[in-house]
């Protein structure tokens, strides 16, 4: 198994160390370093009230270690505490952390042992203190074979988590790398006093809602399956100030269209991800504000590099040059989105600033294809070579209209240089199975990137017959060598030039046509104040949100 967050070996760096120390020092001095707006701002605004957030799917149960999806984990992060809170600063360096349940931490000189000091005020909502026992129990949960937590790989370099005393935890690592704290922090702390009596083997048959208890700012107040989840302020929340909101209601609807309707009808206050197609409708509506920010995702065309027609990088570069991506951004994304450049998003610290998006140049595309031996010998408007027409099947998910629109625009652009594209829209599961088996020419896809840079899964030469997300079976020995090299480096500043070289090699090879770095549009009712929306976590500072006038609901 490879690891969830990706990069294999990176070490603690000189550059990161001051950040960690700064955070630790700040924690020792008082309130957490980062959370704007501060308590004084929040106190100036009216407190109480309810915020209603639109969700596309219900939770997969109430135990964060048994769910397979992302929504459940993100929602339960409001209920169960984490040791530290990841900060949205991945564009400058690997993410730093602010104190949470762990109010301070210190590293051993060799950086293999981390000692965390838990906040002695921390309490579960039933009054029981949150102690080192809970942290150690959580570690046992995370690494249990019976539970088989999907992200247990994040713990692969942690050799032990022990309680020194009630409020001190010691974590030992087998190696030094910049994401040690991130990996330790992955997964919320769960209550040993309530959950440890249930054998791990029985966890999947257990109803967890009655056993829920809160250690975070909110507690579970109700759940109507497929309709709504209600959280309310945890009155025993130990980390002052208490959340201003009385309640946070998650309304579940099966389609984006339904959520947009509810937003416009005033039934929901927050739509975390607004489809670009609905932008104008929402923008024209009074009382709704839009927050526009970089998403950690990019949409691309993945080419099957094992296909003889697509194996030549020059041909793939020509295909990219033929596609007018700016028009695509304007038409499909309503102008929101940046032209894709390469395998590392331009908002990440490791991005090579010297790289520019490939230009739209149909003449160069025609020349490139001609140089590769493609010509229209029979005058039918479609290029051919050795009697074979240049016809590509382009897959897109049938559930995703946006990607279908992209496929149609690509079809039109490539037709202008003599390449015939046959779009094929299939159900998502079918699409994944087809690309998994290598049974495709090209596919419109989107990757969401974790804040740990991970180039292993997508760009390393895949082993035959092993599951891989390198669907196009891209292979470049120099990229593989550089990936090995970067994994052996401790210093992220030293990794940066290697990442730059990897990006340049991949951009030159164009195994993907990097179409768009996505922008996320979050719609918020204007009555919400103090919301910090960013692409690190969806509900980043919900405990500090306040609302103005309560609408009639």
């Amino acid at each position: 198994m490879t690891r969830y967050h990706g990069v294999e070996v990176i070490e603690m760096t000189k550059n990161l160390l001051p950040v960690a120390l700064l955070v630790t020092a700040a924690a020792a001095c008082g309130p957490p370093a980062s959370p704007p707006p501060g308590p004084s701002d929040a106190a100036a605004l009216p407190s109480g009230g309810t915020v209603v957030i639109g969700l596309l799917s219900d939770v997969q149960g109430w135990n964060p270690y048994l769910a397979d999806d992302l929504d459940t984990a993100q929602l339960l992060a409001l209920v169960y505490p984490t040791l530290a809170i990841e900060q949205p600063d991945y564009h400058r360096h690997p993410p730093s952390f602010a104190p949470a349940l762990a109010r301070a931490w210190t590293w051993s000189d060799d950086h293999l042992v981390l000692e965390l000091e838990l906040d002695p005020r921390a309490r579960w909502s039933d009054g029981v203190p949150i102690t080192a026992r809970d942290v150690v129990f959580t570690w046992e949960v995370q690494t249990s074979d019976d539970i088989d937590w999907l992200h247990s790989d994040a713990k692969g370099s942690i050799t032990a988590v022990e309680a020194v005393d009630d409020h001190t935890v010691r974590a030992s690592f087998s190696r030094v790398y910049p994401y040690q704290l991130m990996d330790l922090n992955d997964g919320p702390i769960v209550p040993a006093h309530l959950w440890s009596s249930i054998p791990f083997a029985d966890w999947r048959d257990t109803d967890w809602l009655p056993r829920s208890v809160a250690g975070g700012p909110f507690r579970i107040a109700g759940h109507t399956p497929q309709q709504q989840i209600t959280l309310e302020r945890n009155p025993g929340y130990w980390d002052a100030p208490l959340p201003a909101l009385d309640r946070v209601v998650f309304r579940i609807a099966p389609s984006e269209q339904s959520l947009v309707n509810q937003l416009l009808a005033g039934d929901i206050d927050v739509l975390p991800s607004l489809p670009p197609a609905d932008l104008e409708r929402v923008r024209a509506h009074p009382g709704i504000e839009l927050v526009i920010y970089d998403d950690r995702s990019y949409t691309h065309l993945c080419w099957n590099t094992t296909d003889p027609r697509l194996a030549d990088p020059a041909v793939r570069r020509a295909l990219t040059a033929a596609i007018d991506r700016q028009t695509l951004v304007d038409v499909v994304y309503g102008g929101f989105g940046r032209l894709g450049v390469g395998p590392i998003l331009s908002s990440f610290w490791a991005f090579d600033e010297g790289l520019e998006p490939a230009p739209h140049d149909p003449a160069a595309a025609r020349a490139g294809l001609a140089a590769a031996g493609w010509s229209d010998s029979d005058g039918d408007g479609v290029l051919d070579r050795a009697g074979e027409a240049f016809t590509i099947e382009l897959l897109a998910a049938a559930e995703n209209e946006l990607r279908q629109d992209i496929a149609l625009l690509v079809q039109a652009d490539l037709a202008r240089v003599g390449v015939a594209v046959e779009p094929r829209f299939v159900e998502w599961g079918t699409l994944v199975a087809a690309v998994d088996a290598g049974d495709f020419d090209g596919v419109v896809n989107r990757w969401e990137e974790p804040t740990q840079i991970d180039l292993e899964g997508l760009w390393r030469t895949p082993a035959p017959d092993e599951p891989t997300f390198n669907f196009g079976r891209y292979s470049n020995a120099e990229v593989d060598r550089l990936l090995d090299e970067v994994a052996g480096l401790a210093d992220f500043a030293a990794q940066r030039p290697l990442y730059h070289r990897i990006q340049r090699l991949i951009v030159a090879d164009q195994p993907y046509t990097f179409l768009v770095e996505n922008t996320r549009l979050t719609a918020l009712a204007s009555r919400i104040r103090g919301a910090e929306i960013n692409s690190a976590t969806p509900y980043f500072n919900l405990e500090r949100w306040t609302v103005g006038r309560e609408p009639a609901r």
Binding site: M1, R204, Q226, N261, D267, G429, L431
Partner: protein, 323 residues
């Protein structure tokens, strides 16, 4: 009659088995599975492989099928891949909303259908008959997702008369019993109207035709000759025999009553069986898809049996045919 019922009930099990087996074959034959459809961009290929193993999706198809069939024969419908709860509990929760919506729609369908048919049959080819024919054909012919979308746009977004979706308001848990009931009925109006109107158009067309047929029967002439009022002739002597096709229609509506309308429940986020089926299909949640398909098959078979029995109870001629 008893033999008919016994014969039909005996057929029920093999028919349900056949439908379920075909559904199983179609679902597993489609490429991909729950492990591929799970919505988690952070999962890598190996983690998806682990998911396949966890839910038995890496097993050969015949083994998956036999293990599913064995469990069903033991009365175990399995556990939902998505919600991790027994499918029976999931269905038990989804059925009441579907019954409520389907029941309200059926009531509207029947009452409105009868009223329009009677009004139209009073003066065949009169202005009401013509208008109701055109409107009825239009309503019955329009796709339900379009009608429902238009209803949301006009009555929820533009006029603000009804909620755009869901069964209860976000704050319903803090309402009193009466207010909660009113809130529920308020939410019920639009989806029930969208579901019921198309049915009412069909019912009205069938019933109008039957009423006109019966008006020319000799027993109607005889009723008139006895000096009965036109109202009595219409409501009693004409309508009763004309309702016979409606019994069949109602029987055939039973499947919608229990298996729900995927389109209407999806547009209105109504937490019934139809929405559960859509969710399960999107997520490739095999145990749930299978259970709802079997429920639908049973509903179709039982519905047609009820229609036959109802018809036989109402019409002695049908009783003879079914003997």
């Amino acid at each position: 009659m008893r033999r008919l019922v016994a014969r039909r009930l005996l057929l029920l099990a093999p028919m349900v088995w056949l439908v379920a087996t075909l559904t199983f074959a179609v679902v597993v034959a489609a490429p991909g599975s729950y492990a591929d459809a799970v919505d988690h961009p952070g999962l890598d290929a190996a983690q998806r492989e682990a998911l396949r193993a966890r839910y038995g999706l890496d097993q050969p198809l015949h083994r998956q099928y036999l293990s599913w069939l064995g469990a069903v024969l033991r009365g175990d419908l399995g556990v939902s891949f998505v919600t991790k709860e027994p499918v029976t509990r999931l269905l038990g929760r989804a059925l009441p909303p579907t019954l409520l919506l389907g029941g309200a729609a059926l009531l509207l369908d029947f009452l409105l259908g009868v009223a329009v048919a009677v009004a139209a049959a009073r003066r065949p080819h009169g202005w009401f008959d013509r208008v109701s024919t055109v409107v009825g054909l239009g309503v019955a012919g329009l796709p339900s997702f379009w009608v429902a979308g238009l209803a949301v746009l006009v009555f929820a977004l533009l006029l603000g008369w009804f909620p755009a979706s869901h069964m209860l308001s976000a704050g319903a848990d803090r309402m009193s019993g009466g207010a909660r009931l009113a809130d529920l009925l308020h939410h019920l109006v639009l989806p029930a109207a969208c579901l019921g109107l198309a049915g009412a158009a069909g019912t009205a067309r069938y019933l109008r035709a039957a009423l006109l047929d019966i008006r020319s029967e000799r027993f109607i002439l005889a009723a008139r000759a006895r000096g009965l009022s036109e109202r009595r002739v219409l409501w009693v002597h004409t309508l009763r025999p004309a309702l016979l096709p409606a019994i069949t229609l109602l029987g055939l509506s039973l499947p919608v009553l229990v298996s729900g309308s995927v389109v209407i429940e999806t547009v209105f986020s109504w937490p019934g069986v139809g929405l559960a089926l859509l969710r399960a299909a999107q997520a490739r949640d095999l145990p749930v898809i299978m259970a709802i398909t079997m429920l639908g098959a049973v509903a179709v078979l039982v519905g047609s049996l009820i229609a036959d029995l109802g018809y036989a109870a109402a019409d002695p001629r049908a009783r003879e045919d079914l003997r």
